[in-house]
């Protein structure tokens, strides 16, 4: 395994600065000629020029030509956000034979010209200061090598629900070996307990059976049922998953990538929440779908010996909870998030109820109807046409449920749709439309140091830039372990995780950005403060090294485990430990350049 190499170059630093017009997006506001002229006078800047579109092939060729023919060995490009074209220019440097990390991208569009349209002089001044800061950073930048890790060509997938099965098939069809871990004795997870699924009206069991059959018949997939994960060690390319198998024996399997498809739990109201558990006729939506599924009575729903003529559905039970209004479950936080899928699920169930028992009276009490999705709005329209009485309550008010002596319930709610009139519905049954909550994977979270959102679900790095990726390298999330999703969304997310795994393992070596901690052994005093600041087990350790002919204790970084957060940097007085490419010296020089301008 090759880890980080920083390469200090002895040759003089020759910096080129390129200022992009971005058509007129930048140059209509910022005086790009003045910026280039000013930068051309800045120490160590050899070339400073401006061009209409730096991202065009002509713009890139200009950079390549200056590197090849003018001896430029550091590049600063002032243009749009690096999110758009950092990779473009890194590839240009690679084509010119220059280390891709000897380039700094300065954003003078989204964070200058577009936000200072009324202040052209100010925007120009700011652009100059930011580019000077970029020059100061690149002056202090060493060539870096991407981290290369020989990757185990196996994917470990935790969770044998539909997300885990879908991800497993994506990986296996691409030729990767897969170990699929499921703690239960059967595949399918939560979907085993559902009946019909929207919008296709398939039975949940048919989806589980189809995926399960494909998984069992795929020679690339090793299915491990009744397998309980004990611990996970290692890093991207080389994880070790320790688990207890069917025969209660502890085993270890290696993998290059891990996909977490650990699913969700249904929210379970506490006793008394919306009168839950005070009567068998107060049920949750998952319970009700089973009751409906199992009912064989021809004309009306029969439950616990009672004919159910009228039903109230109450949305947002355990979702969109509010401080001062709702009480959290013991030891838990309020669930402030919208569980997204329960509105559609409730409406879908109501429509099925209306098909089976058309004379049932339905009161649907909601706050906001979120039947998002291409075909889901039509479910709502269908329910409206089916004489479902919709009652829209204010978000901060909760419907009141009172049981009458005859066993029925009076459900009272304010209705925004009828100018805040108080509506009282007399019903035989109340269905609490509960949402999804994170499944209890706290052992795994603690062991693997997995990031979780405030809602408790696993937290991807970025919705658009790095979907389904965790900050932990080589670990992806699939399906409802990430948040509430319906079946189609779950399968799509699982496919994405599978594709990411395949992409990462497409070559025998994994290439990683080298922005991780590096230690200067000369400066390290062996105090160990950095280790106590590090949250990632094994990323930083102390070791004995021979430095300048003497054995001394120094910090040592495991490049595959370090995530480059920099927590260690702040506590290192002698600045022996830094994040490569983002050093404290670089930032101080940048801030000085801005302050001076």
């Amino acid at each position: 395994m090759s880890l980080l190499n920083t390469v200090e170059s002895a040759e003089p630093k020759k910096i080129a600065v390129y200022v992009c017009h971005c058509g007129g997006n930048i140059s209509d506001i910022i005086d790009v000629k003045k910026v280039a002229q000013t930068l051309s006078q800045y120490p160590q800047v050899s070339i400073a020029t401006e061009y209409a579109f730096m991202c065009s092939s002509n713009g890139q060729d200009m950079v390549i030509n200056d590197i090849t023919n003018q001896g430029v060995n550091r590049v600063v490009i002032a243009a749009c956000s690096p999110a758009l074209h950092e990779t473009t220019f890194r590839n240009a440097l690679k084509r010119a034979g220059l280390n891709i990390y000897l380039y700094e991208h300065v954003n003078i569009r989204e964070q200058a010209s577009w936000v200072h349209k009324q202040d052209k002089d100010g925007a120009t001044h700011k652009a100059i200061a930011l580019i000077k800061a970029g020059v100061e950073k690149i002056i202090r930048q060493d060539a870096l090598d991407e981290i290369k890790i020989i990757a185990n060509q196996r994917v470990a997938i935790v969770g044998g629900g539909i997300a885990g099965m879908r991800a497993a098939l994506s990986c296996a069809r691409a030729g990767l070996k897969v170990s699929l871990f499921e703690k239960r004795s059967t595949l399918g997870g939560n979907l085993n307990r559902e009946s019909l699924i929207y919008p296709t009206n398939q039975t949940a069991q048919s989806v589980v059976d189809q995926l399960g059959s494909e998984v069992k018949n795929n020679p690339n997939i090793d299915l491990l049922l009744n397998a309980k994960i004990v611990s996970v060690n290692g890093f991207a390319g080389s994880f070790q998953i320790n688990f207890i198998d069917l025969d209660s024996k502890e085993q270890t399997i290696g993998s290059g990538v891990i996909i977490l498809a650990t699913g969700f739990d249904h929210y379970k109201p506490y006793e008394g929440e919306y009168a839950y558990k005070t009567s068998p006729f107060i049920v949750t939506l998952p319970d009700f779908t089973k009751i409906l599924d199992q009912s064989a009575q021809p004309k009306a729903l029969l439950y616990e010996g009672k004919t159910i003529k009228n039903i109230a559905f109450i949305h947002c039970v355990g979702s969109r909870q509010m401080d001062g209004v709702d009480t959290p479950l013991e030891g838990k936080n309020l669930n402030e998030y919208c569980s997204r899928v329960c509105c559609t699920s409730a409406i879908f169930t109501i429509n099925n109820l209306k098909i089976k028992y058309p004379n049932t009276g339905i009161f649907d009490i909601y706050s906001d109807m979120r039947t998002y999705g291409l075909e889901h709005e039509s479910l709502y329209e269908k329910a409206s046409k089916n004489d479902v009485l919709f009652i829209r309550r204010p978000l901060e008010e909760r419907p009141q449920i009172e049981q009458r002596p005859d066993g029925t319930f009076n459900v009272t709610s304010t209705d925004v749709l009828s100018w805040n009139e108080q509506i009282e519905a007399n019903v035989d049954m109340v269905v609490l439309v509960t949402g999804m909550v994170p499944s209890d994977i706290s052992d795994l979270v603690d062991n693997m140091k997995l990031p979780r959102s405030t809602d408790g679900f696993l937290q991807e790095v970025h919705l658009k830039l790095r979907p389904v990726e965790l900050a932990n390298k080589g670990i992806y999330i699939a399906g409802t372990s990430q948040g509430p999703m319906d079946v189609i969304e779950t399968l799509n997310a699982a496919n994405t995780a599978g594709v990411k795994a395949v992409s990462l393992l497409s070559l025998p070596e994994i290439l990683m950005d080298p922005f991780i901690a590096v230690v200067d052994d000369d400066k390290c005093t062996g105090c160990g403060l950095c280790i106590s600041e590090c949250s990632y087990d094994g990323a930083l350790t102390m070791t004995d090294k021979i430095v300048n002919g003497k054995t001394k204790k120094v910090a040592q970084v495991n490049g595959a485990l370090c995530v480059g957060c920099g927590a260690c940097v702040a506590v290192c007085q002698p600045r022996a430990i830094q994040v490569a490419g983002w050093t404290l010296d670089q930032f101080e020089a940048m801030v000085d350049a801005i302050a001076k301008e």
């Binding site: 936000v115 100010g122 937290q459 927590a567 404290l584 302050a595």
Partner: protein, 128 residues
């Protein structure tokens, strides 16, 4: 070009969260004063107390740390950052510095209104 005499505000953003948030402000063509300078870091937890004090001593009038808050993808980084800022405040007080010149906040990728509000608040602090 002459030196900008206006008080300078340094905005420290995170690569994963508030830097895209600052981009979103630009994409929405919203506006704020040009005396604000945005830098991006993997996570501001890497800066020691002295980094802020040095910047505030050497010409930066106000610093806004736009962290990812409890949604930070780095395990344990946000509590450490919050603790470090508290100890920076202690040091600033000992140096008779106005602690309002250093603000820690949470900005996500789409928090455009909050982004502008934080800058407007800091403008008031540095103008005082």
């Amino acid at each position: 070009m002459t030196k900008d005499s206006r008080p300078k505000i340094l905005v420290i953003t995170t690569s994963h969260s508030s830097y895209p948030g600052a981009n979103a402000v630009g994409q929405a063509r919203l506006a704020y004063d040009s005396n604000t300078y945005i830098i991006r870091v993997p996570d501001p937890v890497m800066f020691p107390e002295e980094f802020y004090i040095k910047a505030l001593t050497n010409g930066i009038a106000g610093i806004i740390i736009m962290s990812s808050g409890s949604d930070c993808p780095y395990e344990g980084a946000y509590p450490r950052l919050a603790a470090r800022i508290q100890s920076t405040y202690t040091k600033m007080k000992a140096l008779n510095m106005n602690i309002n010149r250093l603000k820690i906040t949470t900005i996500c990728t789409v928090c455009t209104e909050s982004f502008l509000k934080e800058i407007a608040n800091m403008e008031k602090v540095v103008a005082a």
